[in-house]
């Protein structure tokens, strides 16, 4: 039995310790918001936060997350929620499939940088592929989230 804390909830699961978190989340815990895109760390669809570190869940074994806090797109952290609002405001998703990974990457960016420049956004987001090509809107939505945060204060 392995115990994982996902979005502040404890889960006991029967999984081999080397199973990537991606599949533990999706197939064992039924949290399908985190996506499979490539399995090799090349697309970002599977991004989650592990103790606030942005992590490719397709490459990270379950054993590496024991005793840590996992956040997925289903988790309601303050920056993630604001980003979701901005994503809706700018109609970011097309097919939507890459967006959980994009949102997690953006959450991680804003957690460490409250007002990123275009270049800093490029750096943080270029591990995430969007085949539908929503990059321009993602960038706008991240800038807009910074504005929303200011209003919130």
């Amino acid at each position: 039995m392995i115990t994982l804390v996902v979005n502040k909830k404890k889960h006991n699961l029967d999984a081999s310790p080397d199973m990537p978190l991606l599949w533990a989340l999706r197939d064992t815990l039924g949290l399908t918001g985190t996506k499979y895109g490539c399995g090799v760390g090349a697309c970002g669809a599977c991004k989650i936060l592990v103790n606030d570190e942005v992590t490719y869940s397709c490459l990270t074994p379950v054993s590496a997350a024991v005793g840590k806090e996992i956040t997925t797109v289903e988790g309601a952290t303050p920056n993630l929620q604001l980003l979701q609002i901005a994503w809706i405001e700018f109609n970011v998703p097309q097919c939507g499939f890459c967006q959980p990974g994009q949102l997690i990457a953006a959450t991680s960016l804003l957690n460490s940088n409250s007002n990123p420049t275009d270049e800093e956004i490029d750096d943080a987001m270029s591990g995430n592929i969007c085949r539908c090509g929503t990059y321009q809107r993602i960038k706008k939505a991240i800038h807009h989230t910074v504005e929303l945060k200011k209003q919130q204060k």
Partner: protein, 727 residues
């Protein structure tokens, strides 16, 4: 103008103290706070697409697949508009694959263009019945009543909600003469609507095929022969069976239909990862079959040879040879474009549950009726015993209109007598697709002293899509030819020739299809001609596009040179064509008519240390009447990135019959750091709606190549540009 958003009562975002536009999300919530969740019996269903419940909630059916094309929102908003329904009371249900819905194949950029009128009628009929119902109830004349935002209103001010009319409406016959709304009264059509699914997308609650789950469902991966149509000679499953979670390993048959399963060895497991690991652990000896000789380098040499000698003439006018020999200047060029793979972010996958006499499937498909046909035929079941449910699609681009992966799931579920999800790995998706064709194109043209084009020869060879349906087909045919032969150029002596090209892999349609190579070679060649004639490419293109069309034609479905020239002029104007640019920047343009829409793009590039950077893309589209502006703009933005990816990196190659690329590392996509600023203008039009999903793609690659030429004087005639180490 702000967007129209359907705010469901289950809206996920609480009012979290925002003061801006985002407040809309919180403030509308209370409207339906008291509404009961229970589904009330006795709904009114005037047609297949509309279901109105006594509580006023309205379910509209989307018969086409949602893959980012916005179709669940656009088609249903047309019904809602004609009905005078309140968009906030609408929920959208996805149709199963069934003939009763008419053609459901979501490709060819056809959904809105084919269904716009039908959806309007569905909505209008419902509105008229509700008006009749109210008139009956109030004992007044129908002409004294009108529909307004989910109510029927009488001229004296009395009103009644749609839901309260359900019982009477059920007894009223549909009107014979349907009166459509005056377009000036449209509330949703032509406006900006948010996707009906947007909240689900951003919270991770959207259910794509890959996310569908059934109790006790197994997961399966399949090892397929690296060579197309190769077969299993023998396999050893010992190591695979040792992987924890792997439950069964067995061979599956090839189904020899165009969309049938490729066959191979299936690994069934308790989770996806175990299935993938089990597949890796298999030891398989393959019989590669006749495609084992496929070598894409040699194949391209063969194609190129074929276009450098006379081909089969498929269209001719005037006398090109006479034109060439009499001319001041003759220009020749050859263009080579490789296979492409669709690479939707969501890999092919399907959940199937085959029981004794019935089967139910949940799949991300663009073509549910083809899936139905394939599965039904494989199982030998009656029509109604096979149900194809359509999930959301994580991208399609044509890949998901070929349901080979759906058949695979049915085969495995039948074998294990349990529900199963077949999941392709990204490597599978890259290596076992229905590839965009590989092509060589030879072009020759003559110019007179004034730089007018007097002769035009376009000769091309590529394995046709038809080869997937008829393995003997080895010449381009149908609109694979006409999209080059019907090019609207004002040239007297004109000839199209085609060369032979047998298929060595499955050939399929990919977003924009043959317009990618034709749009590329034609637009790069006209740019070459413009420079040879010492003319500005904009002026040169406008001249080549010839006479203006009549105002009548401009409002119809007929091709209009005026509309094509108009998008080009607008794109050039928006991009500041001919105006000074920053130091080291240059622009290129391209214009193309496809899927009955008119598109032009101007691309602005620079080069830093030999690497191309794209700064800006200006696109203008004329696609007739627009249903949802948001979607059209998004599709043009997406098309620009899709076009960039194929121009920069798109290349699938084969060696000894096996595809050499495997994942996003060697089949690359454009990423955020390469993404330019994209500006889109939609031309206002009253012409019937035309294609949106695809026509934005073909102009991008040639406009890039033309811009690079302008900047460097070097002409890159083959794609992708990564082969020249330019990206």
């Amino acid at each position: 103008m702000s967007d129209i958003q359907n705010i469901s009562r289950r809206s996920f975002i609480k009012n979290i103290g925002l003061t801006s536009g985002a407040l809309i999300i919180g403030s509308h919530l209370s409207l339906f706070a008291n509404e009961t969740e229970s589904v009330l019996a006795g709904a009114f269903q005037p047609n297949l697409f509309v279901e109105l419940k006594p509580d006023g909630s309205l379910t509209l059916i989307a018969s086409r697949s949602e893959m980012g094309n916005g179709v669940r929102t656009s088609l249903t908003s047309v019904i809602a508009d004609e009905m005078e329904a309140d968009w906030n009371r609408v929920s959208v249900e996805q149709a199963i694959g069934h003939k009763k819905y008419g053609d459901q194949n979501t490709d060819g950029s056809r959904s809105v263009r084919y269904l716009y009128e039908t959806m309007r009628k569905m909505g209008a009929t419902t509105r008229m019945i509700l008006i009749s119902a109210a008139a009956q109830k109030w004992k007044v004349l129908e002409s004294e009543c009108h529909a307004e935002n989910h109510f029927i209103v009488h001229k004296n001010g009395k009103k009644i909600g749609f839901g309260d009319l359900v019982e009477i409406a059920k007894t009223i016959e549909a009107p014979k003469d349907i009166i459509l709304k005056d377009p000036k009264d449209f509330k949703y059509i032509g406006k900006n609507l948010k996707s009906i699914d947007v909240e689900k997308y951003v919270t991770g609650s959207a259910i794509f095929g890959l996310d569908f789950r059934l109790p006790n469902m197994k997961f399966a991966a399949i090892a397929r022969c690296p060579v197309t149509f190769g077969t299993v000679k023998s396999f050893d499953k010992t190591e695979a069976m040792k992987i924890p979670g792997v439950e069964a390993v067995f061979e599956i048959e090839r189904i020899e239909t165009p969309f049938g399963a490729l066959g191979g060895v299936a690994v069934v497991a308790s989770n996806t990862w175990a299935a993938f690991k089990g597949k890796e652990a298999l030891i398989i000896e393959w019989d590669n079959g006749k495609n084992g000789s496929y070598d894409s380098v040699k194949y391209m040499e063969m194609l190129t040879e074929n276009v450098h000698k006379p081909g089969v003439v498929s269209k001719t006018r005037g006398n090109i040879e006479a034109a060439f020999s009499a001319s001041a200047k003759v220009i020749e060029s050859t263009y080579q474009l490789p296979h492409l793979s669709h690479a939707p972010m969501e890999v092919p996958n399907t959940v199937a549950w085959v029981k004794e006499n019935s089967c139910e499937v949940w799949c991300p498909t663009q073509n549910p009726q083809a899936a139905h046909e394939e599965v039904k035929n494989y199982l030998g079941f009656d029509d109604e015993k096979v149900i194809i449910n359509v999930t959301l699609l994580g991208g399609g681009f044509g890949r998901k209109s070929k349901p080979d992966y759906v058949v695979e799931a049915a085969i495995i579920s039948k074998a294990i007598k349990a529900p199963v999800q077949v999941v392709w790995t990204r490597e599978d998706e890259t290596q076992h697709g229905y590839y965009h064709t590989v092509s060589a194109q030879y072009m020759k043209a003559s110019l007179d002293e004034k730089g007018n084009v007097t002769g035009w020869l376009h000769r091309f060879a590529f394995p046709p899509i038809k080869s997937t349906f008829d393995p003997t087909a080895d010449y381009p045919n149908g609109w694979e030819i006409t999209s080059a032969s019907e090019v609207p150029f004002d040239i007297k002596n004109f000839q199209i020739e085609v060369g032979q090209a047998p298929a060595m892999v499955r050939i399929g349609w990919l977003r924009s299809v043959i317009n990618i190579p034709h749009g590329f070679s034609i637009n790069v060649f006209t740019d070459e001609l413009a420079h040879a004639a010492n003319q500005d490419p904009l002026a040169f293109n406008l001249k080549l596009l010839g006479e203006d069309s009549t105002p009548e034609d401009n409002k119809s479905n007929k091709f209009s040179a005026t509309r094509l020239k108009n998008v080009l002029k607008k794109a050039a104007g928006n991009a500041g064509w001919g105006k000074p640019l920053p130091e080291g920047h240059a622009q290129g343009l391209a214009v193309h008519y496809s899927f009955m829409s008119y598109v032009a793009s101007v691309v602005e590039v620079s080069m830093v240390e030999g690497i191309v950077k794209i700064h800006k893309i200006n696109t203008v589209i004329d696609c007739g009447i627009v249903v949802n502006k948001n979607t059209v703009i998004a599709q043009m933005e997406g098309a620009a990135i899709f076009g960039m990816s194929l121009a920069f990196y798109g290349k699938i190659t084969a060696k000894d019959g096996a595809i050499e690329q495997s994942n996003f590392g060697d089949y690359r996509m454009v990423r955020m750091n390469e993404a330019p600023k994209i500006e889109v203008e939609i031309v206002e039009s009253t012409a019937p709606p035309t294609g949106v999903g695809e026509p934005g793609v073909p102009v991008i690659a040639p406009a890039i190549v033309n811009a690079i030429f302008k900047l460097t004087g070097k002409r890159y005639r083959n794609l992708p540009l990564s082969d020249y180490e330019l990206v």
